[in-house]
Each structure stands twice: as structure tokens, then as C-alpha cells.
């Protein structure tokens, strides 16, 4: 059985560590700021279709993505907008993606987070929950076959854990000891369905043993704890230690999507979880570490605002795709990269 892992100070220290910790703060704030703006734009009808907020869960994406390296592959799910920001996708292009603009990741083809960006190591997942876990296992298989020191990371919700795809992926990862880390964001609800209707156990992480690897539980609202754990787990996986499952306990602030008032939830529960908000928790830590929080917060807020504003402006000024582009990008030009292999023989 997995136990909740305690937070401890990050492994490295010194000046670069300080900078790194401030950078984590910026990321978490950027994600929150960006998503808040997205919700607003949705209300203003400037973003159409389904919008799924990760508000309250920012520490997870931040802590999980922080130790990633170039060449790693991540498959985010619908609440993981932060993954795009942290992996270096241009905020403007991301906002353009959400608005269905030509400059978006999918050039207007798909909505919200279903556009991927392999240049930044992001696999765009379909809506079919859980289907990205086999894909992540396959990416890890490539790293293994090629003896590359990369890892694949797949995010999924505790509701998604019920899908057969998740089982098949984890089992295969266990058998082949693949370099893949599965990250469960357990926010206790899947749309309206509470945890106890989703599974008869408390910790998704405890399923890892059924596949022959280790499951870890961590408070998903405690950025330090998430970072510390993900650094440790990922470097083990990267070094050939095989797959791992990290379960982050958290809570979804908003409705399932922006259309959902979430009346099925207890208001008390929300208040309780808001009191565990990851941002003030982390701010308290920074203060304890001797930072001038007020100054930092102002600075970061200004940077976040500017970045988000810039992204919105870029996206709004970007053109919509031309209608005929609907028929583009369905197929790769036949054999275009067939010669990119390693031709041997004649």
C-alpha cells in the first residue's frame, strides 16, 4: 500500500536552487492566471467548445513537469493546460489554439488541449480518456529500444483510471520495465461522479503493485512535495528503474467544464479544499526561505499579466484558418520521411 510521501526541501541547494524555486512559483502563477483568463474568455464567447479548468491543481503540473528534460514525451489530459506552458509552448500559440486560430497548435483543427506539439515533446491526447496511456507506453518503448535516457509521462484523472486502456498500458509498462511515469490527478470527482462510485479503494496508487512497480501518493496541493517526489521518481525511471505511478490528491475548484455549476458537490468541501490552495502554501514556504514575498508576488503578477495579455492579443489578432484548410493535414505526403530511417543494405 502506498503511503503519503512527506514533503522535504528539494535535493539541490544554492543559488540555482533558489532561482529554480522562484521559477516554480512563476509557473504555478502563470498557469492560474492563464486559466482564469481562459475561463473569462469562454464566458465572453471568445473561446468556444468545452473548457476544462485545472484551477486548484496547478501544483501538480508544475511539480511533475519541473524535472522533465528535452526529448521527454508528455501526454497531458484535459485539465493540464499548464503542461503546454511549462514545456515552452508559446503562450500566444496556446491561446490561439483555444480560439481555433490559424496560429494555434492544430491550426484550428481541434479544440482546447487536443492539439499537440511534438517539438516541445507534447502528445496531443484525444478526448477518449485513458487512450493516451498506451501511447505514452509506446513512446517509452522507443526510448528503451533506442537506449535513450528519456522518459514518457502520462497524466490521467482518478475517473480515467477505470478505463481498460489504463490497465493495458500499465501492465505492459510493468512487463517491459518501461521508462514511463503515470501521474494520476485524484481530484475526487469525475464530472459528477465521486470517488466511491469510481472505485472501491482509496488510492489509485495502490494499483501499481498489480503491475509490478511502485505507486506513490502525494499531496497534489503541496508543490514542494510534488517536486521532490517527481524528481526522485523520474530520475530513478530515467536511469532504468522502470515505471512508476504517482498519485496526487487534489480537488477541482470549478465545475467539470465551464458549463457545469457542479451542484452535486458539497459547498463545504470546496471551501475546505480552497483553504489548501497550493499558491499560498508555496508562498508561505518562500517567505520562510527568506524571500520578500510582497515584492516577488508583485513582480510575478506583473510578468504573468503581461504574458497572458500578450497571448490574448496575439491570439485575437491571429487569423482564422481559411475554409479549404479543412482538407489539409489529413495525410502526410506519402513516404515523405521514409528515407529518414537508417537505410542499410542496397
Amino acid at each position: 500500500m502506498a503511503e503519503v510521501e512527506g514533503a522535504s526541501a528539494p535535493a539541490a541547494s544554492g543559488a540555482s536552487r533558489v532561482e529554480y524555486e522562484l521559477q516554480l512559483y512563476y509557473w504555478m502563477k502563470l498557469i492560474r492566471g492563464f486559466e482564469e483568463r481562459v475561463s473569462r474568455l469562454h464566458r465572453q464567447n471568445k473561446i468556444l467548445g468545452g473548457v476544462y479548468s485545472g484551477a486548484g491543481q496547478e501544483a501538480i503540473v508544475t511539480g511533475i513537469c519541473a524535472p522533465l528534460q528535452e526529448g521527454d514525451l508528455v501526454a497531458p489530459l484535459h485539465r493540464d493546460l499548464g503542461v503546454f506552458l511549462m514545456r515552452g509552448v508559446d503562450p500566444g500559440r496556446l491561446m490561439a489554439q483555444l480560439m481555433g486560430k490559424e496560429t494555434g497548435l492544430s491550426r484550428g483543427k481541434d479544440s482546447f488541449l487536443h492539439g499537440g506539439d511534438l517539438e516541445h515533446g507534447i502528445f496531443g491526447s484525444t478526448s477518449m480518456l485513458g487512450s493516451s496511456l498506451p501511447v505514452a507506453a509506446g513512446a517509452a518503448l522507443k526510448f528503451q529500444i533506442r537506449k535513450e535516457k528519456h522518459i514518457a509521462v502520462a497524466f490521467f484523472g482518478e475517473g480515467t483510471a477505470s478505463r481498460g486502456d489504463v490497465h493495458e498500458a500499465m501492465n505492459f509498462a510493468g512487463v517491459r520495465k518501461l521508462p514511463v511515469v503515470f501521474v494520476c490527478e485524484n481530484n475526487r470527482y469525475a464530472y459528477s461522479t465521486p470517488l466511491e462510485k469510481q472505485m472501491a479503494i482509496e488510492d489509485v496508487a495502490s494499483r501499481a503493485t498489480a503491475y509490478g512497480f511502485k505507486g506513490h501518493v502525494v499531496s497534489g496541493n503541496d508543490l514542494l512535495a510534488v517536486v521532490e517526489l517527481s524528481e526522485r521518481v523520474m530520475s530513478r525511471t530515467r536511469e532504468g528503474g522502470g515505471p512508476a505511478l504517482i498519485e496526487c490528491k487534489t480537488y477541482r475548484y470549478r465545475g467539470h467544464s465551464e458549463h457545469d455549476p457542479a451542484l452535486y458537490r458539497d459547498k463545504e468541501e470546496l471551501v475546505e479544499w480552497e483553504s489548501r490552495d497550493p499558491i499560498p502554501q508555496y508562498e508561505f514556504y518562500l517567505q520562510k526561505r527568506g524571500h520578500d514575498l510582497k515584492r516577488i508576488r508583485e513582480e510575478v503578477d506583473a510578468r504573468v499579466n503581461a504574458t497572458v495579455q500578450g497571448a490574448v492579443e496575439f491570439a485575437e489578432q491571429s487569423p482564422l484558418p481559411r475554409p479549404e484548410e479543412a482538407l489539409e493535414d489529413l495525410y502526410a505526403p506519402s513516404g515523405s520521411s521514409a528515407t529518414a530511417g537508417n537505410p542499410r543494405g542496397s
Binding site: G108, G130, T193
Partner: protein, 326 residues
């Protein structure tokens, strides 16, 4: 009493569950939430947790468990939260359910209904806009319906619940709140099988179903107004089995056939309909069989793209003019 398409479905569920306590509803968030679209609203309150079952996110389980209950005499009405996710339950539908009776030597049946909200035009993008019907219309053992009006939505759902075979029920999301109709009081059904002539004509036949029925009727009115063309509009309603007689009758009557559906051109049901006509009404044809369907792409998100891909009234009007002039 006037009812939306959505309300008509909801009423059918309430009434069938009241009529027969073998009927129960199962799916993701169908209980307290009343489903993503509120189609199952009020059922939990009326019938309790044993008959309105929230499942984990497990499409294969939903259908498979429905089959298990159905062979023992229950009448599950299963919901895919979006029709697109039917792909995740594909094997259970086409292999377990569809072959069940055949494999059991006719000594078992599988009376389940699988409700699948489908269709585009709501900015749903690639995975919330699909029209999966043609994957299933090629599978013997299944029945497939796709109502286009509140009356049919209610009447066909009731027939589906009472049918002893697995019925896939495609309800078009765009119609949920956009169309209303006066429904008769009391129990009524619409039989699975027969198509319905929505408009009589003599110059040209449109054969359609689901979301594009309304666009087809609009187009027929436009061309009549502008040039006096009398277009006949046949609503298939049931997609498996197809009403071959009605299809052939309208084709023989007008001699010119335009098939319209929101599903993609290639591999859509239109191909099958065209083939039936080209084989059995060949001598009556006065022109090519034409199709107005979604283009062969995924249903893209951005409005200019989605609009370009999907059929609409204008595109139908255009095709009618061309075909009429042939």
C-alpha cells in the same frame, strides 16, 4: 403538449421505466447530474439508485454489463456520454451483443438500448461531433435508429426499449433544444423500420435522416418558392434495417435522387442507399444519384473549417438546382 427533442427523450425514459420495471438506465453521470445533457433528469428521484446507475468511466463495461443484464430479462437503456465514445465499447457492441442470439441458437435475446448523443454543428470538434452510425449499420443483429423530430425521438425510443434486440439510438445533440413539437398525450410508439415521407413531391427526391432532415426541408421550401420545384423528402429514421421499399418508391417516383447526411461522404449510409437504388430502380433514374454529405475530413473545430466541412441548406439547394437541371 409541446416538447423539445430532449424533453421527448426524457419523457420516453420516464414512461418506459414506469411501465416496465425491467427497464433501467446506466451510464456515466446519469444519476444526480441527469447526464451531460440532462436527458436523464429526474429519473434518479423517480426510480432510485437501483434503476438509475452511475458507472465508472468504463464504456466497455457499460455495454458488456448491459448485455449481461439483458440476457437475463432486464431492459437496460445505456448511455454513452457522447456518441464519440462508442468507439471505446466497439467490441462489445459488434461482437458480443450483435451475435448473441445467433450464437445461442435463437434461444437468447439481448433487449438493450444504447443511447448515443451524436452529431456536429455545436463546436464540438473532432471528438464531440462524430456521426458513428455507419459503423453499426453494417452489423447484422443490431438495429439502428436516428430520429429527427421530438415525436419520433419519443416514439422510437419507446419502440427501442420494447424491442428484443440491441438497438443503437442516435440522438442528435444539435436538435436537443432547437426543435419543439406538440406531442400527443398518452402512450404512442413509432415502429422501428419504416421511413417517413416528410414532404411529397414529384421532381426530385431527397433521402436523409437525423440532423439534416431540417436543412433538407428548408432547402425544399426554398427551391419551391424560387422555381416551383416539387421536392420529395424521405426521412429514413431507421438506418438498420433500411426501408428499401420507401427508398425505391421515392426514387421510382421522381427519377432523381439526392442523398443528404451529416456523416461523411465516404462510407456513410448514403453509399448503401445509392447502391440499392442503382441496383433496383435503375430503369427509373433520370439522372445521377447525388450526395451532399460532410466532406471527407474529421469535424474540425474552428468555425470556418467546420462550416466548410458540414452540409447545410445552401449546399443542398445548390445540389437540388444542379440535379433538377440535369
Amino acid at each position: 403538449m409541446e416538447a423539445t427533442y430532449l424533453k421527448a427523450i426524457n419523457q420516453a425514459l420516464h414512461e418506459e421505466m414506469r411501465r416496465d420495471d425491467n427497464v433501467f438506465v446506466m451510464g456515466e453521470d446519469v444519476g444526480e447530474l441527469g447526464g451531460a445533457f440532462k436527458v436523464t433528469e429526474g429519473l434518479l428521484e423517480a426510480f432510485g439508485e437501483d434503476r438509475v446507475i452511475d458507472t465508472p468511466i468504463s464504456e466497455t463495461l457499460i455495454v458488456g454489463a448491459g448485455i449481461g443484464a439483458a440476457v437475463l430479462g432486464m431492459r437496460p437503456v445505456l448511455e454513452m456520454q457522447f456518441g464519440d465514445f462508442i468507439s471505446c465499447a466497439f467490441d462489445q457492441i459488434v461482437n458480443t451483443a450483435a451475435t448473441l442470439r445467433y450464437r445461442h441458437g435463437g434461444q437468447a435475446s439481448c433487449p438493450l438500448v444504447l443511447r448515443a448523443p451524436s452529431g456536429a454543428g455545436v463546436h464540438g470538434a473532432l471528438f464531440h461531433s462524430q456521426n458513428p452510425e455507419a459503423w453499426f449499420t453494417r452489423v447484422p443483429g443490431l438495429k439502428v435508429v436516428a430520429p429527427a423530430t421530438p415525436y419520433d425521438a419519443k416514439g422510437l425510443l419507446k419502440s427501442a426499449v420494447r424491442d428484443d434486440n440491441p438497438v443503437i439510438y442516435f440522438e442528435h445533440k444539435r436538435l436537443y433544444r432547437s426543435i419543439k413539437e406538440d406531442l400527443p398525450e398518452g402512450d404512442f410508439t413509432v415502429p422501428i423500420g419504416p421511413a417517413e415521407l416528410r414532404l411529397e413531391g414529384r421532381d426530385l427526391s431527397i433521402i436523409t435522416y437525423g440532423g439534416t432532415l431540417h436543412q433538407s426541408l428548408d432547402a425544399a421550401r426554398i427551391v419551391e418558392k424560387e422555381g416551383g420545384l416539387k421536392v420529395e423528402v424521405l426521412d429514413l429514421r431507421t438506418l438498420l434495417p433500411l426501408d428499401r421499399e420507401a427508398i425505391l418508391a421515392t426514387a421510382r417516383k421522381t427519377g432523381k435522387v439526392l442523398i443528404v447526411h451529416e456523416d461523411r461522404l465516404t462510407g456513410g449510409i448514403g453509399g448503401e442507399v445509392a447502391a440499392i437504388i442503382a441496383e433496383h430502380a435503375f430503369d427509373y433514374l433520370d439522372g445521377p444519384i447525388r450526395r451532399v454529405c460532410a466532406l471527407d475530413a474529421h469535424t474540425a473545430f474552428s468555425p470556418p473549417l467546420e462550416e466548410y466541412i458540414l452540409p447545410n441548406t445552401n449546399k443542398i439547394v445548390e445540389a437540388i438546382r444542379e440535379l433538377a437541371a440535369y
